[in-house]
Every structure is written in structure tokens, then in C-alpha cells.
Amino acid sequence: MLRFLLTRTMTMVFTAFCLTIIVFFLTNLAPNLEKIAKSEAGSRISDAEVESWLARNGYGDPMIHRYGQWLGVVPGWVIEEEDRIRGRCIRPGMAPEDAPTFCGILQGDWGRSTVFRQDVSQVIARGLNLTAILMFWVMVVMVPGALLVGVLAGMREGSRTDRTLSTVSIVMTATPEYVSGVVFITVFASSAVGLRWFNGSATSAMDQITFVNFTLPVLTIALYGLGYIARMTRASMTEVMTAQYIRTARLKGVSFPTIVTRHALRNALIAPFTVIMLQFPWLLNGVVIVETLFNYKGFGWTLVEAAGNNDIELLLGVSVVSVFVVLVTQLISDIGYVFLNPRIRIS
């Protein structure tokens, strides 16, 4: 077990390392650096001004050198000007002599976001916090809903209940968020239809969540996953329901509700559990659309802003966090699988 955890952690570190190298390389291509200079020093500056700005702000070193600075194995850049000393490790309001020599991810310093003018760790923490709240409510709606629909549909394969619920879940899965979100806003939030039950903008939900301002974003994400998980649960349920031990139970005269809850359910939930855990990384990318659509400034929206503005250190931070989220949920999924299914051993 310990060895398993260790290998997984090593995989995670290695994946994060590879991904950050790729992201670092792509974000440091010349046109992308120019983009940063323009957003920082003014969108109308000349090419010569771009060059001088880049040189003055630590972008002049070779790329591998700068990656080392971000990692924290190479000393951060320091540039002396006539009236002051500026450097990577010298934060606003800090005296140059107090600043550390190394300030990279190994020292716990995630760098500074050029778009948000804040530490990357703060920006990511803010985004993750908001997204976690959104995901929590999505899970609260999605998981019980999906399991219920799936189990009801899978109990009696081919029945009218099965057909109806299957159709509904296929429609939900077949509708991407950017379609359902827009439809929801038009129908339930705008004066075009006139219902106006909910808010079409979740901006106020960042301060205080209410039923009115949070329903639509949660529903938009939840419904897509709900259909998918329900289909998986149904397939798993129908398979279990045809198993021999279920037939035996029926022949013994056990009542149908007891068969479903006591004998079928646990076995039927093994497959959906993996699918649910797989939803976490997928949700991370689903929130990109929904957060932008509903103007909810979480992790997905942060990623959009970082990518759109070539915010190098923020993008690297986002990558590391994403790798972490994906691999940790997979780890939990693998371990959880063992508890649900005694036939599997981790060795």
C-alpha cells in the first residue's frame, strides 16, 4: 500500500514537471513575451520599448535559466537601476537586502500573476475556493440524482420507467453546457421569456450564495454529468440484476425492494464510483465554460484569464494544481475501489 502511494506521488511529481516545462516553453515564445510587455507597459508601445521592457523585467535570461528561477534552483534575477534595485524575489514594499536569493516553487513561492497583480498562490486559492463551493453543490445535486435515476432505470430493464429515464439521461448528456447554460438563462432568467425565477449571473454568489443566484450554474454542470453517471449506473444495475444470486434471492421469496437495496445496490455501485471520481478532473474543465458564462470568478475563469493574457507564472501554477487534482482523485478512486470490491488488491 505504501509503495503504491509512493509510486503514485512520484508519477504526480513527474507529470507536473513535464507539464510545467511544456507550459513554460509555450508561454515564453517571443510573441507571447511581447504580449506581456504590451499588457504591462501599454498596448501601444513600440518594438524597441518591448525589448527594453522585457530586459528590465527579468525576461532577458535564457529560457532554461528562467525555468530554474521558477523552480527555485537558480537565484532569482536582480536588476540595479540608478535609483533602485528590482528583482524577482523583491516584492513590492520589501527592502532589497531582505529578499531571499532563491524564490521558486521549491521555496513555496508560486510567483506573481501579471494579470491580477497578486501572488499566484492567492489568486489560485481564491479561484479554487470559489470553484470548490460550486463543485460541492454540483456533487450534492448530481450524485444522488444520478444514482437514483440509474438504479430506477436499471431495476427492470426495458420497462416503461427504464425507457423514459434513459431517454431523459441521454438528452442531458447530449446537451453540452454552453447550450444548456444559454437555454437556461434565456428561459429562466431573462425578461425575454419573462419567468425570471433565477439569476442569469452568479456574480453575487461570490459573496453570498442564494437559491436564486446559484441554481442555474449548478444545474448546468450537474445535468450534463447526471445523465452520464445515470447511464453508467443503469448499465451496471441491469447487469447485476441478471446475476444468478439475484435470481436465487427471488426464488427464495425475498421481496423486490429488499433485493434491490440489500443485494444489488452495493455491487451495482462499483462502476459508477469510478465514473464519479473521474468527474472531478472533468468538472475542472466543465467549470471553465460555466464560470465564464455565469461570470463566477473561480478556477476555470482564472485559467481563461491567465491563458488569454499569457500570465506565465499563473498558468504554471494552474497546471500544477490541475495535475494534483486529477491524480489525487484517481488515487482516491483506486483506493475506494478496493473497499467496494474485495476481489481487487493493491500490491
Binding site: 510573441p31 511581447e34 504580449k35 504590451k38 499588457s39 504591462e40 507597459a41 501599454g42 498596448s43 501601444r44 508601445i45 513600440s46 520599448e49 527594453s52 521592457w53 513590492p92 514594499g93 501579471t114 494579470v115 491580477f116 497583480r117 497578486q118 438563462i185 432568467a189 431573462s190 425578461s191 425570471r196 439569476n199 442569469g200 449571473s201 456574480t203 453575487s204 461570490m206 436564486v212 443566484n213 465564464t292 455565469f294 461570470n295 470568478k297 481563461v304 484569464e305 488569454g308 493574457n309 499569457n310
Partner: protein, 550 residues
Amino acid sequence: MTYHDRTGTAIHPGARLYAREVQEGKLSRREFLVRSTALGVSASAAYGLIGLNAPVAAQETPVSGGTLRMAMETRGQKDPRTWDWSELANFGRGWLEYLVEYNADGSLRGMLLESWEANDDATQYTLKVRPGVTWNNGDAFTSADVAHNITRWCDSTVEGNSMAARMGTLVDPDTGVARDGAIEIVDDMTVVLTLTEPDITIIVGMADYPAAVVHQSYDDTDPTLNPIGTGPYLPEQNDVGIRQVLVRNEDHTWWGTEVYGGPYLDRIVYIDYGTDPAAVLAGAESGEIDATYQTTGDFVDIFNGLGWVQSEAVTASTVCIRFNQDSEPYTDVRVRNAIQLAVDNNVVLELGYNDLGVVAENHHVCPIHPEYAELPPLEVDPAAAEAALDEAGHGDTEFELISVDDAWQSSSCDAVAAQMRDAGMTVRRTVLPGSTFWNDWTKYPFSATEWNMRPLGVQVLNLAYRSGVAWNETAFANAEFDALLSQANSIADADERRVIMADIQRIMQDEGVVIQPYWRSLYRHTTANVHGAEKHPTFEHHHYKWWMDA
């Protein structure tokens, strides 16, 4: 008859000349107000010269208190003189003020300057500092602060400092900084500016949004970090892309309370909804905002339908669908002219901006500008356009027209592209999200640029089309144009200037610099309880005028 303004000093003779021109119908009232107040005549005295009473704006008694929430893009702050977005200034206006203020009726009034006076040929300006102004750290505001700021503006060696172009007549072209002796501190309350040549725009330039006045200790970094200013508010929250909050500074006695009244609001909250106006609408319908920053296109009707109050500002703001003359195939003037010939500006106005404006003539001088010269109407001839393009050898060239995903800019470009296709050209339309577009926008060969209005016709020409200036993204470089423009800049009389303007405007058309299809009216919508926050023609937010019913 001798006129005296409120302070008892004699009125500038130029202003009386202008007043006569108004009586003779040669000068519009708006232009008269801009120019006579620029010469140091107070707005009420100026109204008096043309036999009118100064308008009284407020009918109701403002109420103190309240929080106003407005949709606005909240961008990362930087050195005010390098501000390239009005939004940056509008947040900064909470604590950073201006020497003079441009008002919606076209007049200027003193803020940190109490008055100013030009000599008879507009080559020397005497600036009088307003007494009793203090910084929010307790320091007194004096002529040294004024001189310090003007010197900062003149420093053209700073990357992206657009104020240097506005202060051109004070800058030494060799060193790129303020000329020795150009800015002279006479006493604690007086600064004298000596220009190299007559300049009628310098005071108006001090009202422009990058001209925020900073403290002498300011170190060119993010101004929110140490918000020393003279204004009545302080930044409380500055989350880029999310929200910016201004709160009334209770520990600071603002000079303007006695002079102009206000401020009334306790808090002003700017909420960022990105560039999509539908998101702002969703925010409005959700009750998250009390006012829009700007309402465009179809959304004007939609907001009216919601029962929000509309305010309109008639402006010389526009969109320029411009060619970069350094990029193929637009290096060839025949190509540029052919594309212009294929496009009917009336159609662009109708399809791109719902007819919410006036048709323009591809030379970026507006009929509301005093020096506007009327030229023969533009010709539209798609067949001739295609023939001219074939002759230039670009009959089969694919033209790529790039625009930001902003609704009205994008549909205006669509209207241009559609008309080009009707004339037989091959056009590719590319629409980019704001975050991507603005990072590269000056490089696109064929693209659209939004221009805010300037009070005088020569001002935008100076900023945008003079050879090699910071904001010239057309790469237009024409010695004759530059020479004529310099000449126009030194002529205070609108009629005389108009003669030269006719040539300047004709050069703009003949050289095919831009397709400038229409002049926009600007709109803002607020809920019914918001007052004093009417749309300003140059997007300025005068927070101290805003108030709300309970």
C-alpha cells in the same frame, strides 16, 4: 463694453472674438465654450458673453449616502500617464484628480487649478492653483505639485507615456523631456508655461484621462498601493477582473465640497462582467448592478424595455476600420481606396450600430468639431472598386479583417466585410476575444480601433495620424499632412483653421487611411434612483456628482 469674469480679471480678447463669431453663426456654442474656457474664461462668464445664462443642472436636492454598483471592466493599475483605458482612470478618479475637468456640455472648468489665462497668441499660459486644496496625507497642494506633474507628463522616454504627445509644445525634442524654462514656478500658487509655438489644445489635454495628478512621492508603480491623492474617495478593494471598490475617505476634507458640492455616495463598486454585453444584461436583470458603464447597439432598446433610465451623450467617438500601411497589401494606396470605394458608410451605421449615430466621411473630423470643413460627399461604387483592385494586382487577394468580439465593433466590421464581398473581394473575418485581441492589436494589418472623442478636431489627428506618434496604428506617415496639421494647431480662429482643415481632411480621404463609418452616440442606463451619473462624452466618471435616492 468691458467684460470681467467672477474673479474680476479682464476677459481674454480671444474669447470676445469667439463670442462675435457665435453671434455671426460661424462658431457653434459647444466650440465657443471649449475654446473660451480654455483661454481662462469661467464657464458662466463664457455663457454671459453670448447672452445666455449658465445652465443649472440639479433640479433635486442630492441625498448623501448609499452604494452605487456599476458594471465596468476592472483592469490592472499602472502609472497614470501610461493609462490606455478610460476604465483605469475611472477607478483612479476616486483619489486622483485633474487640473481641469471637461464637462458634457463641452465646457472646461477648473479643478485643482482655480483659473488659467493665455496670452494673446496662445504661446504662454498662466496657471493659478486652487487655494485650500490638500493631499489626503495632509500636505498642501501647491504650484510645485503642478509643475512636478507637468514635468512627468512631458517625459517621452517613459514607455507608453501618451501625455508627452499632448504636452508636445513643452517637450525638448532632443532630450525627450520638458524643455528648460518651459515650466516655471512663479510663486506658491502660480505656474507659467511657455510653449514653443501657439497651442490651443494644451489645457484641454490636461483634462484628458491619463492626466491624473499624483503626489511627488509617487514612484510610478501601481497607484493603489499607496493611494495618496487629493480626491474624496479611497480604493478599498482592487481585484483585477472581478471588482474594484471606492469608499469615501472620512479622514480627508475634500476641497470640492465647498466649491462644487458632493461627494454624496459612501461607496462605489465596479463589477467586471467581461466584454460581453449579454453578461452585463444578466447582471442587471439579477439586480447585481445599478448602472451600466456603457450600453451599446441592440442593448439600448433592451435596457429601455427593462424600465431603466437612459442617458445619452452626443459625441465625436467612433470606430476606425483602419489599414496598416506598413503591411501588404495595404502599402498600396490603390488597394486602400478601392476598399473605401466599395463600402457605403450609411450601411455600416445601420447594420453595425443600429443607426445610433451620424454618418462620417473617412477623415476623422466630426461636424461637431469647430474646424470641420465640408467636403463633397463620398462616392460608393463597388464595380469601380473591383476594377481598381484588379488594376493594382490584388483582384484575388484575400483580405483578413480582424476585430474584437465586442458586439458593435464586430458587427460594423461584418457590415464592411459584407460590402467588400458584394464588390467581388475575398474577405476573411476573424473575431478575437478581448484578452487576445488587445495584446496584438496594433500589429493587425486590417482591423478596427475604437476612438473616444476629443473636444477639438485637430486633437485626434495629432494623436493618431501624425507620423511616428505613439498611437498611430495606421502607420500613416505623410510630411505634407504633418506640416499642415502643425499649422492648424497654431491657428486659434476656427474659420482660418477650416481652410487648412479642408486640405487635411482631403489628404486623409485621398490616402485611404481609414474607413471611419460613423459617429456614435453613447448611452448609459441606470436604475431610476441613480442621479447625476449621466453618460459623459469622454467616458469620465465624476464621482462627486453621483447620488442615489434611498
